[in-house]
Each structure stands twice: as structure tokens, then as C-alpha cells.
Subunit: 195 residues, 2 copies
């Protein structure tokens, strides 16, 4: 059985095309015309699936945010010493980032010009805050060094993790997602210097 | 003695205005008209100082690059064990980044659309390469852990350092440049976990 190309489009495939175009042109610089050309379907076919580009943005950043927030519900993020829970969260953040690379890349580039962007920034801040709380608890337990302020340490660790979107390409030879996660956990928790 | 405003403009003050506008609008999105408005002087007055916006870009990223390369010539970056030299370089990178924040921010945003941008990217790669070589030497000495690949470790450490431009504001309360440098050195070399 064959189907015409336009019939093969699902909200999912349209979303992956939209995310690619948003990341290439910037969300502000993307028109429905660009999306229609990139997807190879008419604008009215797109409107059959979604109300417009802001809905595509919302679905795309939701996928990244849902992946990140789901980490906090995993058992090793909820049970045990705060430092171990933090280590699990850092490892899984890298795994989610590498597995959902275009979606997390888009999330990290959101600037706050539309309601959806401001909502995404708010949820990002909420996630960052929950990780900072975990780090604070680990410091209170005495498991984490006390000579780097928790808020600063959180920012620097997020900086290292988030920078991965700038150069990681899953199709290239090099570290896999779980290998990257291992490397980040080692550097973040034990540092470069051999004890 | 009073001087008319246009006479107070030096290449240095024009440069600082240009860097601010480039960082706000993006280099591609900045016209000589934007620069003229932001500086409050005519376009022809700007052309009295420089040949055009690409020369301003070149001067701006040169200031950042010269600051970074100068680190490698400092004695503690040249003499001693590679791991200690690397530690000095990491510390000084954070200090230069925070001291020359708008210039380094611009350098990190360069994309490679013009000859000057490609030249800046080439020099950045050269700097990164020199730091990676230092890390390789420290690993060969056995002073740095062997279970994270050097190229990956370099990228992650640069990711942490460079992310500082996203949120560090020298005018806000919070860590000073040298305090930030201390925090980064502690995290990068010894990690979060208390031994």
C-alpha cells in the first residue's frame, strides 16, 4: 500500500522538522512559509495539525522540559543521600540532553519574546532551582565542598552541561551519550586532578 | 576647557560602544546607522576613525584574543609541571573573561560569515589547541585523571568557563572576577565532592 507524501505527515514528524528549522534560523526568524518549505507540505496542511508556529515551539520545548523534569521523579533522584541523588540528576541531564539534542538546544536558546518562551524560561528556572536545592542539601550533609557558593556552583555545572549542545553531534564518531554523562560526572564530582 | 562631544570620541570609546551594539543586535544585524545612533556621532565621524564595522569587529575580538594569548606567555604558564601551568591558565582565563566581558562575549558569538570572523575562529581554535596540549602533557605526567579523554575534558572545561558570559554581570552584587576564578579552579581541578 502506498500513501501520498502529505498523508505520511504526523504531528511528530512535523515537530522534528520545525525544531530543525527553529534551531537553524532562530524562532523569531522562522515563518510558516519556511516551515512549509522545509516540510514539503502546504501551510494549510500544517494548520491541519497545529494552530501555528508558537504551538510547535510549545510542543518542542515541552518535550525537552518533560524529559528533564522526569529525571527528578526517578527513584535514585528521590531516595538516598543528597550528593548521590545530585550525581544521578547530573548524569541523567547529560543523557537527556544528548538523546533529545535538538529539543534541548531549542530550549536553551529560548529568549522570552512570546508567552510560550516566557513559560519555558519559567520552567527552566524551576528546574534549575530544584537542582540547586539538591546541591544545597548535599552541602548541608557535608558531602559537598563548602568553599564554593552553591548558587555559583550550580551555574557553573549547568554551564558545563549545557555547553554540550554547542558541539556534540550524535552522528559523528566520538563519545556516546552515556560516555559523555560518565565524563561529566567524573569532572563535576571528582575534578581533573588525580588525588 | 570644554570640548564638543564629537571631539571626545577616541577609537577606544567608539570601540566600546560598537561592542555593546554588536552584542545586543548581533554583528550581522548591526549597520553603520545603528553604530552612528548609539555613539551619537555621524557616520562620517565614524569613518574618520575606522574603515567600517568589520574593522571595529576585528579590533574588538583582537582585544579579547590578545588578552587570552597573553596568558600563555606569563611565567606560571610556561614554567613548572604541566598540571600547575594548566591551573594557572584556567584561573587567568576566567579573570580575563570577567575583566574583558563584552569583548570575550563578542568573540564567543563570532560565527564565521566574514573574513574577520573566520580569522577570529581560527585564532580561538589555536588557543583551545594550546590549552588541550597542556592538558595532554599533564595527563602524560600522571597528574590528571586518565579516564576522561583529553579532548572531551578540554571541551567541557571550556564549556564551563565560557558559559560565564551568559550570566556574569560585574555591576551586580555577587562574586568578583578573582572569586569566580577561584571557584572555577576548585571545581575543575578538585570537583564538588568533599574528599
Amino acid at each position: 500500500m502506498t500513501t501520498a507524501r502529505r498523508d505520511t505527515y504526523t504531528p511528530e514528524t512535523l515537530l522534528s522538522v520545525a525544531v530543525r528549522v527553529f534551531n537553524e534560523r532562530g524562532y523569531d526568524g522562522t515563518s510558516m512559509e519556511h516551515l512549509s518549505k522545509a516540510a514539503g507540505i502546504s501551510k494549510s496542511s500544517i494548520y491541519h495539525h497545529v494552530s501555528g508556529k508558537e504551538e510547535l515551539l510549545r510542543r518542542a520545548v515541552s518535550r525537552a522540559l518533560d524529559g528533564l523534569f522526569a529525571i527528578l521523579d526517578e527513584e535514585p533522584a528521590r531516595v538516598g543521600r543528597a550528593a548521590d541523588r545530585l550525581e544521578h540528576v547530573v548524569r541523567r541531564m547529560v543523557e537527556v540532553l544528548t538523546a533529545e539534542l535538538p529539543y534541548v538546544t531549542l530550549l536553551l536558546r529560548v529568549r522570552g519574546n512570546t508567552e510560550t518562551e516566557r513559560w519555558a524560561l519559567e520552567r527552566r528556572r524551576d528546574f534549575d532551582h530544584r537542582v540547586a536545592e539538591l546541591m544545597k542539601a548535599a552541602a548541608a550533609d557535608g558531602d559537598i565542598r563548602g568553599d564554593v557558593e552553591v548558587r555559583l556552583a550550580t551555574r557553573l555545572v549547568f554551564g558545563m552541561i549545557n555547553s554540550i549542545v554547542e558541539w556534540y553531534r550524535p552522528e559523528a564518531r566520538g563519545a556516546t551519550g552515556p560516555e559523555m554523562a560518565d565524563a561529566v560526572v567524573r569532572l563535576v564530582f571528582s575534578g581533573l586532578r588525580r588525588a
